[in-house]
Amino acid sequence: MKQNRLKKYLSNRNFTLGLIMVSILFLLMVVGFFYLPADPNKIDVMKELLPPSRENLLGTDQLGRDILSRVMVGSRISFFIGFCVVICGGLLGCTLGGAAGYYGGKIDSVITKLIDTQMAFPGVLLALMLIAVFGNSVQNLILALSVMSVPRFARMSRSGFLKYRNSEFVKAAKVKGASDLRIMILHIFPNLLQELSVTATLSFSGAIMSEAGLSYLSLGIQPPTPSFGKMLSEAQNTILTAGWYVVIPAALITMLVLGFNLISDGLNEIYRH
């Protein structure tokens, strides 16, 4: 039974392809906890912008730091931010959406209106505003990106709770005297796990993309901590002398975002059929 299910997942092309892309970087990150080819922050002016070689598999950056090591450490930030944002944004979004969908009426219209209003702030603008006010730190970055991901979770969970609130099993639980909270968490929520996984993977890729964008603008992760976005902006400055460098962070960001998008697409296809 379990094997069958695994087969069903792996036979979906999008899911498998996405999983491979994400796994490659995930493995790189895990290996990075135990072994790094070089110190990612060791500056060596004699080795500036060396192209990929046997000694530095991905070459060196403008300060002579080993790029492969920086990639291995930098992927931690991407996964960490993505993970935290999905957890925080998911909790907040599902709670808001769940309350809106389950109770309906005034609660629903207030929450829906708030979520719709949030959609008026385009792209990273809301995150930028929060960072401007609260200052620039990893916690605030996670907070800002979580707030950004709330609408997606809220919409998903609102429509889910709306769908199930009048179903037979909810009525049965009510007759038995279960509290609203118990019905919402133990009876309705487990039915939404499939959709939740689709939304969560999509938010994961969104968070990674926004983090990279903000770090690119120097408004996200601060140096010397390596992050893909910052590497991209550093690489852009040396694009005339070392054109190959820019390809690495651009490809890595794309690979992560594409990977999670493909997983999300794949999950969606698997659950629909």
């Binding site: 209106k113 209003t117 008026a120 401007a132």
Partner: protein, 314 residues
Amino acid sequence: MKYYLKKILGFIFTILLVSIITFVVFQILPGDPAQIILGVDADPAQIENLRATMNLDKGYVERYLIWLTNALKGDLGVSYRYSRAVSELISESFFVTSSLAVYSIALTILIGLPLGIFIAKNSKKKITTGISMLSQLGISVPSFCMGIVLISIFSVNLGWFDSIGYIPASESLTGWFKTMFLPSLSIAFGSSAVLARYIRVSIANQQKQDYVRTAKSKGLSEKIIMNQHILRNSLIPVITILGMLVADILGGSIIIENVFSLPGIGKLISTSITTRDLPLIQGLTVYLAGIVVICNFGVDILYSIIDPRIKTKR
């Protein structure tokens, strides 16, 4: 008429909510703004003076109302850093951003529309799988990554375009056209993929409709059914998507303008944040969100004119 009234009320309400949210967020700010402007070792009397001119001695509600009425009159305050009116700074950089948006939308339609129709028409052929994969890639590549890759290919390696720098349209129209091409293309790459997807789905939905079966049983050729019946109907929802894309494109332009060093609103935002120029950030935020709300409102109205059925649906 009732429909329009409802839409207009909703529109005003959303604008108010946007302004309240922006105002509240900037009130949470730790520290005294007057102190921040004048520095730590400023004269207390001076600070008191500035507090009075900034209305900081008044209550929150009163301050919000003052700010809102001024904003509606077009006065968004004075930038700390430039010591100039925020509205003036915005109007200077507005042209760059709005033309970038229009340019990107034009490219999006130019690429996305034929692509979507092509995929829908040839849904059974093998080439479609390739194009679908490509469109998935288009959706996933962040626009700023795309921008840098485009710079690397077309400016650095091929030398077709200048990589950065902005030529105003008033100086040289062709020069402007050229400098704006790569930034617009990097935004349009993703959004045209989104558009193509929606068009494909929309066409697929229309193909299942009864009127298509009627047309088929009438003996019309596939081509006529597609071009004269299905396409017309399936392009209606696309207008909504274009409305949504406006927000995406404005959001994307914040980063893209920095990639290509375009002196637009996005560039203004990032500099205002690094210098902690709060009135400027507040003004820009409210301004951009306002544009998005207005665009969505316009799309709703346009939609109801093109497809009057929508008015009775809700």
